[in-house]
Symmetry: D2
Subunit: 357 residues, 4 copies
């Protein structure tokens, strides 16, 4: 398998930095950093530094990103589109930017992995309801493949456009889908997903809510019942909305997602069935690890890796079950999964660029 | 109302320090610090400092408790028992110590607030099952009053022995009991409590699991399905074990508990019913504050206060409901609630000593 | 002594919130919250919430300040100036706002404690050099009293305008001034102050540099050799700039300042002289506590108190000395010291409103 | 260059885990985990888990080390010594264990990198004074090479025994030695090193002082004037003890050391001389990066890398200078530097195994 040329749009965000890190370790991808003029309209301009004190300026310099794309080629996206199409482009951009760029890239013959939510839902109406803007490419939306390689590997390998899943959605789906698909969950019973996320999931833009003084020593609910990742979970697991309860909460940590999923097993079902369902789903997977029943992974064990780790237990007596699922929101929940998708799309080894430790 | 003399056993733990702080602000209580010789057998001895480096010794000195009971009278508990009974004693001790001391104190005419789990359950069998030791005072166990003043104020006022609730139990019961008692929860449906706790809840004893390097940037499950606080919750809410799913998890913060409770409302029930149930339960309470529907308290807003704050929401459409309940495990979940109970027992203003801010 | 009416300008910042907390505990001050229209020009407007997601809006609401001045009278500062002068006003405002308001308040007969740097230096030239703007009230600048009650109590009691010291300056001066004034420091030798500050010292305004992801697990230098607090330290200690080395650094904590001061004692001087100098300076002080030689206070022991704590040691052999000084930047380093100054100005007990624990 | 077989003693500590991680990435080293029976006497046994609650046991399991040496060969050190000598052994052991093992390994023809302080000082008397125990191998102590490759590369390449430097010493020496050796520091003037360290520097053993509740939101001095790393710094820089002031302090972070060094330049010396001295010392070094004057590295930029980063500035006017030096205590300050030394000893590329990102 020969190498490819891949572009990154949005290299300055947390996910973009992680993409640069993964692809910097990748032996088969040459990276081009792409600049998007239209970004200017979508992104809010930074406040002028004119009034900042010298001390603050020094501090800003001291905090400059360690992953500046020094030495990487850098080109306007339009130039690349018209004159010299790349093999692939990874979009680490807001949905509105992805909506504009993805169709043009696909039309130019470039395969796309979109890390925004622009192409994750199957129908334009659902997209508009959850994202508050119309979807202008409903056909491409219908064609896009949901990028969870553990479940959609074959389609991803053929896809022109892969929609990289949300971080909370990945954690929840990896925990729940094998059980639901194997018919283990009691029909009609409630399914609860209590999700906790690190602060980098909120993005790099400066806001009071993500300031150190707001987050440190604190814990808070930021999504109750509704969250844009919910329709991804329902769709991937084949679950009715009316049975599903969800909350997303902010942990005082930089990276990581841990979701605790609660459900009731159907009559006659037990721990052995869960073990079998997980073994069937993930027995051969490099990036999902299932602990033995009764043991639980913690956040630190997955941070800076592309692994999703699962732990589970069943009540004694009874059929009440709990699954803990954790991952790094910037790796398996973002950039790492995007590179995993890229590897599948181009026939590379699935772990290429993803051996962080 | 005149003042009283109250003893504290176990003043060096986190809860004991908080008791000293509350009672230091209390105008009507004279505090006596009680030493218990039999403690020596129950508590594991500290490792000798003999091999510690000088640097470590300095660091230990630097971290010495800010709430040393300097200036407080200090006496052996046996002396107090026989010669000069106190009006009240607060036991911030392990269950085994409380089991031994509480009957002797009650027999001597001293009223007791026990902060351990020794007298929280109603039956000796249940105690033995959850705590792994026989209960030697089943009659006193049956007599003890569960110390949640918002629900049991009248009995607490008369009690000889008050069992101060567990911190996670307090958070869960305050969220759930009014809804369950008002018949709002769908019969037979699952009820989930996902509880998160700060590290001080694990006590002061030095262990690897509570070291800074284990906790910082981490989040982990330490109780899945089973926890000693579960039978308290089931009992206080009148809920069957088979419907209840519970996990307790460790937050990288020093203080605070936040419980997210998920449930389904019965047919025809909605947000207005929840509002009414909470208003009826807590409309006149000083230490429970209910947010308007859709708003949620965060951990920081309750830390260093004796408040339990509730937020809730209901799905649209549907009857899926979520309640967020948070408190400070050392205040309303521990020492503060104990002092609130003491205030009720002796007819003091319920907020005396509890205005931390 | 009768009570007074005092206004607060800038109640929404970290220092302003702490002022409200202190004065809320103060028995002799009625608080009026003052609004300043001209603030609008100085403060950068918050970005519109128009594009924020619903989840973010909920999070913002969840983080709403716990110290909203509900129930406090609230009036435009101009109205108060002209129609109904207050006894005192505390300015928790940027220097430019203090520069405009303080002269008008003083002219109206209101005594002022200014928490900005506008009146801390003695000469207009020095102010312009350090703050980058001309000083329009050089006479008032010359009249203003530097508000360190442990050293200037008599002048503060008479002052019309008190300049509340900077937080780092307070920590450094409390450590160094008694030694320097007693002639203990070797003439001409270097004096080093290595200062570490919590994040609330940078103010509440939202910036990338104070985001959780920038600060957590990090430590950084934000002022090297130069800092606006340096001329305060030099002036109060009578030290030449050419001997003084200073750095300010950002700790991943919310509150607190710890300064480590290094110096050489003069010939024949030793630990006993330091002990004597500190005892003379602080033997009767409520808010400075000196540890015995060789013991050191930590940050946690002073946070949420108005205490400055000192520890010190001398090399063996030799005359190399080290002093550790720590305080809470929002209390003794800000709002608490301002209330202490107010207490001195009006003849109240100096600890009134400052017993946080 | 062919590969080698290297043993690790002490693989379970923080430094040992990092050694396993580095050598796991190393293409030319086969790792053997060595067990030391005599360790039993030196290390304090863990408290029995017999009394731990089930919840705690689960938590302990959840926190199990992610770097268990599964799949690595594991042998008693005595067996390896007598029957099958390894090419090299890395000792991540307390000084007392290193003192016993290093002479035996060297005698068996195995080259040793010792990460303890047992062989860092040149004289047995100094060792006894600082470490409180006699040194039983004074000849080997005299022969041992101080393992800072940037200064001692030639000797390290030939050494039978390399003494890996202390983490604080490495940070201080990298900052100070080039200036001192180039004669830039004013003769006789004070030199100050204010060092801050993350908690993993204190080792993994469970103690109250390193518990989360003691460290979080705190900052404390643990070494004032004296620290075992001081004689390393004085020796490597050729500095008299009487001019050197030092403190070590504990940051609420897991990893990283930042040292702020203050000094006075000699007459006629300035920023250009510092730039030249650093360029000469580190111009060709892979693992020391010098920022341009006036810019400062932060802790986060070096954590999980083997880099030591320097920033510096000079006062204007004057000759007061400040150097900031930071590194990861477990990498360049420990395991990474040990592997760098191993690479030098065996003629491997110096960066082999050390490209963490």
């Amino acid at each position: 398998v020969g190498g490819i040329r891949a572009g990154i749009v949005g290299h300055t965000g947390y996910v973009g930095e992680e993409l640069l890190a993964c692809l910097g370790r990748h032996d088969l991808v040459d990276v081009v950093v792409l600049d998007v003029p239209s970004n200017r309209e979508v992104r809010r301009p930074r406040p002028s530094a004119g009034t900042a004190s010298k001390a603050l300026q020094e501090a800003r310099r001291a905090l400059a990103s360690p992953s500046r794309p020094d030495g990487l080629p850098r080109r306007p996206v339009d130039e690349v589109l018209h004159d010299d199409p790349l093999d692939a482009v990874l979009l680490a951009t807001p949905p509105a930017v992805s909506l504009e760029l993805a169709p043009r890239l696909v039309a130019a013959g470039t395969r796309v992995v979109d890390l925004s939510g622009a192409f994750r839902l199957r129908e334009a109406g659902a997209f508009e309801a959850w994202y508050g803007m119309p979807h202008e490419s409903p056909e491409l939306l219908a064609e896009a493949v949901y990028g969870l390689p553990e479940f959609n590997r074959t389609q991803i390998a053929q896809a022109r456009l892969v929609a990289n899943p949300g971080c909370l959605a990945t954690a929840a789906i990896v925990a729940l889908r094998p059980l639901q698909r194997a018919g283990l969950v009691e029909g009609g019973s409630l399914v609860v997903c209590d999700a906790k996320s690190g602060v980098s999931g909120a993005g790099k833009e400066s806001r009071g809510v993500t300031s150190f003084c707001s987050i440190a020593d604190n814990f808070l609910v930021y999504g109750a019942m509704t969250h844009r990742h919910v329709p991804e979970i329902l769709g991937a697991c084949g679950l009715e909305e009316g049975r599903f309860l969800f909350a997303s909460q902010l942990l005082p940590v930089r990276r990581g997602v841990l979701a605790t999923v609660y459900l009731q097993l159907g009559a006659g079902r037990g721990q052995g069935d869960m073990e079998a369902a997980f073994a069937e789903a993930y027995g051969d997977e490099a990036f999902v690890e299932v602990y033995e029943a009764g043991a639980f992974p913690n956040l630190k064990s997955v941070v800076h890796t592309n692994c999703c780790r699962l732990g589970y237990t069943v009540s004694d007596p009874g059929r009440r079950a709990l699954v803990v699922s954790c991952l790094d929101n910037l790796c398996k929940g973002g950039a790492g999964q995007a590179v995993q998708n890229l590897n599948v799309m181009f026939g590379f080894s699935e772990t290429e660029g993803l051996q962080q430790r």
